[in-house]
């Protein structure tokens, strides 16, 4: 099983590095072949909202960056994991740009937000913004399949709990 892990390299903290290490280890133990892509603010151009990926050349973005390369191989992956810092209950701008362009596996996506100072309302906003509109939504956008799992980590202990949860269905 090929799994892609995308993370925001501009927001590395002790918590995020611990999370990355534990997630990769957990998945490898379950037999996943992992590919980690670390992206920064200047690696990914934002979605222009031109809708040409919808109307003129389906699935293809007008801006050529690393996301286009990821999208070309998206069918290769059984799962995509996004590791993103949470600010105001939202993904980071880098991960927002990556997700808006539909880089995720069509089979299974896991979105893990992290941050030591996320409050309860931000945590709930993050969960709703990611989970509420997937699967049960009227439509599912490209790269967003019905199986989307969302977690939020605020501590090293949370990372361990998340990885334990992953073990139950990452096989």
């Amino acid at each position: 099983m090929n799994t892609l892990v995308i993370l925001d390299k501009d927001s590395k903290t002790k918590l995020s590095e611990d999370l990355k290490g534990k997630v990769v280890r957990t998945l490898e133990e379950k037999g996943h072949r992992i590919e980690v892509v670390e992206l920064g603010k200047n690696d990914v151009s934002p979605c222009l909202g031109c809708l040409l990926c919808l109307t003129k050349h389906p699935g293809e973005c007008v801006t050529k960056d690393i996301v286009n390369e990821i999208k070309k191989n998206v069918k290769k992956y059984s799962a995509t994991f996004y590791l993103t810092p949470v600010l105001f209950g939202h993904f980071s701008s880098t991960i927002a740009n990556v997700m808006a362009k539909g880089t995720g596996s069509h089979n299974w996506q896991v979105i893990i937000g992290f941050g030591e100072d996320i409050d309860d309302e931000e945590k709930n906003t993050f969960i709703d913004i990611t989970a509420k509109h997937r699967g049960k939504a009227d439509i599912v956008h490209p790269g967003m399949n019905s199986q989307v799992d969302v977690f939020v980590s605020r501590s090293i202990e949370d990372n361990t709990i998340i990885c334990e949860a992953l073990k139950t269905y990452a096989g």
Partner: protein, 221 residues
């Protein structure tokens, strides 16, 4: 040169679509309701490319404003990445100790591609979280369903009264010193939902969007 006796309003366009942006139309609508004689107005547009962070003059004009109005399209049920980048940079700018107006009122006008404006709810919550983090004075949102359709039909006489009322409410709230809690405005398009859904379905099919009951193929090993 800013006139210190006037209220300052900062209007932030969160769309990268240039002149085609529905958000720009809504920005112009709200901007012309504030006379130049009475207000210092600054209009900003988010940027697609930045070498480092947003320039200090942009961040300063947000920090100095008495009222900040964010106008943007819904992306992925949240904020566009480019607007999120501006908020990240602004938050960082404040965190390092730069002064800002803590009494600033915060508003947003969000438009989406869906018929139901309620789908913007999480974007509102993000903006509320932003305001709370910086102790700003969150006021209310105007949520617009199917933004481009509302732009196309807003000149039809007598049909866009709710949108005009929402704009008027925003203007009067900025003028006043009221801290009373306000409700959000939900604006639906004039064109009936079944027609819009047919158009949407056409483009989704054409664009190979994945339908609700899509069964994924086995991933290639």
């Amino acid at each position: 040169m800013l006139d210190k006796d006037k209220k300052s309003i900062c209007l932030v366009n969160g769309s990268l679509r240039g002149q085609k942006a529905s958000s720009l139309e809504f920005l112009k609508d709200i901007e012309r309701r504030f006379p130049d004689m009475e207000y210092n107005k600054t209009s900003l547009t988010v940027k697609a490319k930045l070498k480092e962070s947003y320039p200090e003059d942009i961040l300063k004009s947000i920090a100095c404003a008495n009222a900040i109005v964010f106008i943007f399209p819904l992306h992925n049920y949240g904020l566009p990445g480019s607007l999120m980048r501006l908020l990240e940079d602004y938050y960082q700018y404040i965190k390092v100790g730069n002064k800002y107006n803590k009494d600033a009122k915060v508003y947003m006008i969000v438009n989406c591609g869906f018929f139901r404006p309620e789908i913007n709810e999480e974007a509102i919550r993000v903006m509320k979280n932003f305001s709370r983090r910086l102790s700003l004075n969150w006021r209310f949102a105007i949520c617009i369903g199917t933004g481009p359709v509302v732009v196309m039909t807003k000149k039809v006489p007598f049909f866009d009264l709710k949108l005009k009322r929402a704009y008027a409410e925003m203007v009067s709230d900025i003028k006043s010193n009221s801290r009373e809690k306000r409700d959000n405005y939900l604006i639906r398009p004039l064109i009936p939902a079944p027609i819009l859904i047919r158009i949407k379905n056409y483009y989704e099919k054409k664009g190979q969007m994945i339908q609700r009951n899509h069964k994924p193929q086995q991933a290639k090993e």
